[in-house]
């Protein structure tokens, strides 16, 4: 089934606005995606008709809202094919999910001299929490390299495994390079050595069909706002055996069973990790986003985005002088590049003035950018509502930048 892009674009109100009197061309989807009316309405409907605190109370609204909330959890379980709903924890987003695992796993399982393996291509949210917990516990953070084309150096990662390795944490898809890591293979290898694997799926869920049962990952994290859902909501999937073992991350209301002056016992999964009133509007929006993606079909999305990526590569390489960062054979639909020696900030500013939203800089991946010895890149990240015409406009803008600065 091919996607009807014009119909899809009509679902996204923001795409019809102008920037500096030019039609908006939004190529910053890796930073955040735009929202279809279905998601926007789910949120406003919730506040107009159903708003209530959940998991408490016996009145009608409370029961209805609780039902809708837990129905959303079931939808997400199905979306990622998790074995059961108590393994689906709602968080503020991928960053919080990653912090939760780093903090709780570290607290319980990391000792002096233990090791954690990560990669040089990680987003700061899957790097800094591990630096912090390793420092706290006297553990060592080992960093797997990349190959020149941006692929993970799997052999190097394998060589880092020792009998002190307690967890491997890595991204599914690089937000700078677009590299899709062979996580199923990595997880299988890690499990042979009894090592659990945490996958940062922030850039994965919007581009690929994610099946956590098939992947056999121990943890998988993602954010709603990067998959056409609202900000402030995300998911941590964790295998039940791990989530049972991990101590709570935040405490207070909702995550408790009994509280007394002497002692407190904790609630069962997933509520043990959901302290306080949840972001119910966010969950409603996320559910609508999941349904939207289900209707389009992740395979159809992937096929279309692959076309966009191919077109972008052709259009930009034909300009001459454009340097690409991340040319792995398996890539998600984004391109990071520099135009000759032109500073990315200069390029991005001019491209912005032509109505095209790209991102410049280190993209919250300073170790990776430093590895390349550059000040940053210009990144254009595509979604299924982008078109090849828009990419042609980007190519024109890049030519304009070249003329202006050279």
């Amino acid at each position: 089934m091919t996607l009807n892009i014009q119909n899809i674009r009509a679902d996204f109100p923001i795409l019809s606005r102008t920037i500096y009197k030019r039609p908006l061309i939004y190529f910053d989807n890796a930073a955040t995606t735009q929202k279809p009316v279905q998601v926007i309405r789910a949120i406003s409907n919730y506040y107009e008709h159903d708003n209530c605190n959940i998991h408490r109370g016996v009145h009608y609204l409370s029961m209805k809202a609780t039902e809708a909330f837990e129905e959303a959890r079931r939808e997400i379980r199905e979306f990622i094919n998790a074995p059961n709903t108590q393994e689906v924890v709602f968080t503020k987003g991928a960053s919080e999910s990653l912090n939760l695992v780093a903090s709780s796993f570290g607290k319980k399982f990391l000792k002096l001299g233990d090791e954690v393996i990560t990669t040089i291509m990680e987003h700061h949210s899957n790097f800094v929490p591990w630096q912090i917990i390793c420092e706290e516990k006297g553990a060592v953070l080992r960093i797997a390299n990349i190959l020149p084309n941006g692929e993970l150096d799997f052999e190097h990662l394998k060589s880092l495994i020792s009998d002190r390795t307690k967890i491997i944490t890595l991204t599914h898809v690089s937000n700078v390079l677009g590299t899709i890591n062979p996580i199923k293979e990595i997880i299988a290898f890690a499990h042979q050595h009894g090592i659990p694997v945490l996958v940062d799926g922030a850039q994965g869920v919007s581009h690929l069909r994610v099946d956590v049962t098939d992947l056999d990952c121990d943890f998988y994290c993602f954010s709603g706002h990067k998959m056409y859902g609202p900000m402030g909501i995300g998911v941590l999937y964790g295998k039940e055996k791990w989530l049972e073992e991990l101590p709570p991350y935040q405490s207070g209301g909702e995550m408790v069973k009994d509280v007394s002056i002497e002692r407190t016992t904790f609630n069962e999964l997933p509520f043990k990790f959901e302290a306080g009133t949840p972001n119910v509007e966010g969950v409603m929006g996320l559910k609508a986003a999941v349904q939207y993606l289900k209707n389009l079909g992740m395979d159809n999305i992937r096929a279309y985005e692959d076309e966009l990526l191919r077109h972008a590569n052709e259009a930009l390489s034909s300009i001459g002088g454009v340097r690409f960062f991340g040319t792995a054979p398996e890539k998600a639909s984004l391109v990071s590049f520099l135009i000759g020696e032109i500073h990315p900030f200069d390029a991005g500013t001019i491209i912005d003035k032509m109505g095209i939203a790209v991102r410049t800089g280190h993209h919250c991946a300073q170790p990776l950018i430093d590895h390349f010895g550059i000040p940053g890149t210009v990144r254009a990240s595509f979604a299924f509502y982008n078109t090849v015409d828009e990419i042609d406009r980007l190519a024109e803008a890049v030519k304009r930048v070249k003329t202006m600065f050279e």
Binding site: Y20, H343, P344, F345, D346, T349, I350, K353, M354, T360, G361, H362, P375, G376, R400, M404, F405
Partner: protein, 139 residues
Amino acid sequence: MTIQEIENQLVDEFAALDDWLDKYELILDMGKSLPPIDPKYKTDQYIISGCQSKVWLYAEYRDGKVLFTADSDAIITKGIVSMLISVLSGQTPDAIQSADLNFIDRIGLKEHLSPTRSNGLASMVKQMKLYAMVFKMKG
């Protein structure tokens, strides 16, 4: 010329240009005409780091006036640096400290001085005013 007079001159130059891209061509030209900073000041000691582009700033005090030289690795930033230098360099500490630099806003480049932009410029202005204050105190 006073700070206000220099600012007005800059605003007039930009007022003639309607299209954003023409304004940026002018900013680029200003960047190219920025007097080069002495290479020995292009070190970490004089850097004002931004998230996106770096700015190096050097200041000295002569005959009651503060003299600035600066550079940036991004040409647009360099252009705005050039404007700030033309406005503030060679002025007294008092004049520098009390300058509100609204010409940036009047030209339409306010976004470049926003702290959230993190391109080093907002920090640079702060630093220039700090230099003025310190030089005045030291006398």
